[in-house]
């Protein structure tokens, strides 16, 4: 009965966290293990006693502070210095700025919202098709969960008991690979559509643009540098980043108003609690997974089909693409990791880092695919473009992600080389 309760509640639109809890309650009652109810609430609380989770509200806060602090436009301006003069310059600027932003913001939806508002009108003014402008911005948002810091890697690291700093490092090469593949897509489309010509900045303008952006760049430097060099834990570097974002936005750029802080902390609390509560729910759902031996049963099924890790990855990728279309990426990570990770590591000898990178990128794709593509709808409403028009221009990017996913599945080194 439990699977029916789970699916019914999920598709009736019961909040995902409560679906997990309700299924666990039902399962315990059905299996007669009522004594587990005594420690039910304790188990939920215990699921949160993890130092790594503290990074979630802190990275969200950094994103909030950065938005208010006028950093986005400085980063875009700096990107202009490096790629602005190429044909299709603005499209590359968009991509490069998205890469900088991905190194600050950990969430794809947040990034798509900010960048759509900033980039799409500018691109349209220069003569780009609006659908393409929105599509390339939405695709750029996919860099957020792969380039460190990444909310999804924090959650995966906590669930998989892999150090979050290692997950962040594992994402660096895949992030660069993804950026290059998007650049290639833009180049190819540019040949066929004759993008507007870009203009290079004059020397003094360029120096000025870079100088203005330097304080904002301190944030990704602090985050990635701190973690890669092993000076700070991801949680600590997130706190330092939020402090830098606050000081730069307030004192250097003078755009952040301390009176808005209360509102920003409130949004942080709302968004962070939504995600962390799902983790609390997942810890009681862990009982169902363990007592039902879901990983073992599923492993039996899959290993009878193939013993090849790459084939396993292809099966997982295909199923997760479907899952990601229906369920929000972070909810899906919380749900999927405890079930599939033991199979990947135990039966196929796959490194948890590689597995994490692949499934996080895969599930975030669901943000851009209907019927439940939240990222697509955000890009659509922020840029006032229909989702259909975006999708029409989006498919080459989705194809590029698919190819990168296959490469990441095949070559473990791409994820594990730097660790």
């Amino acid at each position: 009965m439990s699977p029916i309760v789970f699916l019914a509640a999920l598709f009736l639109s019961v909040p995902v966290a409560i679906v997990l809890i309700a299924t666990s309650i039902w399962y315990i009652w059905e299996s007669g293990n009522i004594v587990l109810y005594d420690s039910f609430a304790q188990k939920m609380f215990g699921g949160l006693e993890n130092y790594g989770l503290l990074a979630i509200p802190l990275f969200m806060l950094t994103g909030e502070l950065m938005n208010e602090g006028g950093m986005t436009k400085r980063l875009i301006n700096m990107a202009r210095v490096f790629v602005g003069g190429f044909r299709g310059g603005l499209a590359y600027i968009n991509l490069l700025a998205n890469m900088f932003m991905a190194a600050i913001i950990g969430s794809a939806t947040a990034q798509i919202a900010v960048m759509s508002r900033a980039m799409v009108p500018a691109m349209e003014d220069e003569g780009y098709d609006r659908g393409f402008a929105a599509a390339s911005t939405a695709a750029g948002g996919l860099l957020a969960p792969v380039i460190p810091p990444s909310m999804m890697f924090v959650i995966f690291g906590v669930l998989a008991q892999v150090p979050i700093s290692e997950m962040f490092i594992a994402g660096i090469i895949p992030g660069i690979l993804l950026t290059l593949s998007f650049a290639l897509v833009i180049t190819i489309i540019g040949w066929r559509q004759q993008f507007p010509k870009g203009t290079w900045m004059t020397g003094s303008e360029a120096i000025q643009a870079v100088l203005y952006a330097v304080p904002a760049l301190l944030i990704p430097v602090a985050i990635i540098g701190g973690i890669v060099l092993g000076i700070a834990t991801p949680t600590e570097s997130a706190a330092i980043a939020s402090l830098i974002a606050f000081i730069v936005g307030w004192l250097v750029y003078g755009e952040l108003k301390p009176t808005h802080l209360a509102e920003m902390f409130k949004r942080t609390a709302v968004n962070a609690s939504m995600i962390i509560f799902m983790i609390a729910a997942a810890s009681v759902f862990g009982w169902v997974i363990i007592y039902e031996e879901l990983p073992q049963k599923l492993a039996g099924l899959i290993t009878s089909v193939t013993s090849d890790p790459f084939m396993f990855f292809l099966i997982v990728n295909l199923s997760l693409l479907l899952v990601g279309m229906v369920i929000d990426g972070i909810a899906a990570i919380i749900l999927i990791t405890p079930i599939l990770l033991p199979i990947a590591v135990g039966n196929y000898d796959i490194s948890p880092h590689q597995f994490g990178v692949v499934i996080c990128l895969n599930l975030v794709l669901g943000l851009l695919t209907p019927p439940v593509g939240i990222g697509l709808y955000i890009a659509s409403s922020m840029s006032e473009t229909s989702p259909g028009a975006i999708l029409k221009a989006l498919w080459p990017f989705l194809l590029a992600v698919t190819i990168v996913l296959i490469l990441l599945s095949y070559f473990a080194d791409l994820s594990t080389m730097l660790i």
Binding site: Q42, N50, M274
Partner: protein, 177 residues
């Protein structure tokens, strides 16, 4: 009336959650500073984690009032408005059942009646019940852990309040979950 109480309580929950978000940030920063100075305060991490747990459960309860939790809206989005009203009511019933169950679990866990019967004496209580909740210490704070666990009561009550409100209120046409 019930709506006003629920909405007022949600506002308090969010205010507290935002305050705790501030505390988390300051605590982690304090940790960075003291650690760099070679004089780390060992209790800061644990306190920050409890602040996060409190923030989470307060925020999650308030999300039930505002219906902002993450959910799969595939089916309610495609059915006719009439069917949607029915579906949303069923969701309200399930969420209410969940909230009531949380209250029941807290009751089984904290055993308030037995604790009162034992004269609020932890030793007598655990001798009678083999429930060690009131004796469990925190690792570094020097406080009993049940003080932090009480958030589960707050959460259970908040969730019950908000879900009762939604259960008794006619479905609002635009209240998409």
């Amino acid at each position: 009336m019930l709506y006003r109480i629920s909405s007022g309580w949600a506002r308090i929950e969010l205010g507290l959650a935002a305050f705790l978000a501030v505390c988390i940030t300051l605590l982690v920063l304090l940790n960075v500073v003291t650690r760099t100075m070679g004089n780390a305060l060992f209790w800061v991490d644990e306190l920050a984690i409890y602040a996060m747990a409190w923030m989470t459960f307060l925020g999650a309860s308030a999300a039930l009032h505002h219906r902002t939790s993450v959910s799969v809206t595939l089916v309610p989005d495609v059915v006719s408005p009439k069917v949607k009203v029915v579906i949303l009511k069923v969701v309200d019933v399930i969420v209410f059942a969940f909230a009531a169950a949380m209250l029941y679990f807290c009751w089984r866990w904290f055993m308030p009646l037995e604790f009162a019967r034992a004269g609020f004496d932890a030793k007598t209580f655990q001798g009678n019940t083999f429930n060690f909740i009131y004796a469990e210490p925190t690792s570094t704070l020097g406080l009993p852990k049940y003080m932090f666990w009480t958030i589960m009561w707050v959460f259970a009550f908040g969730a019950t309040l908000h879900s009762t409100m939604h259960l008794l209120r006619p479905v609002q046409p635009d209240s998409a979950p």
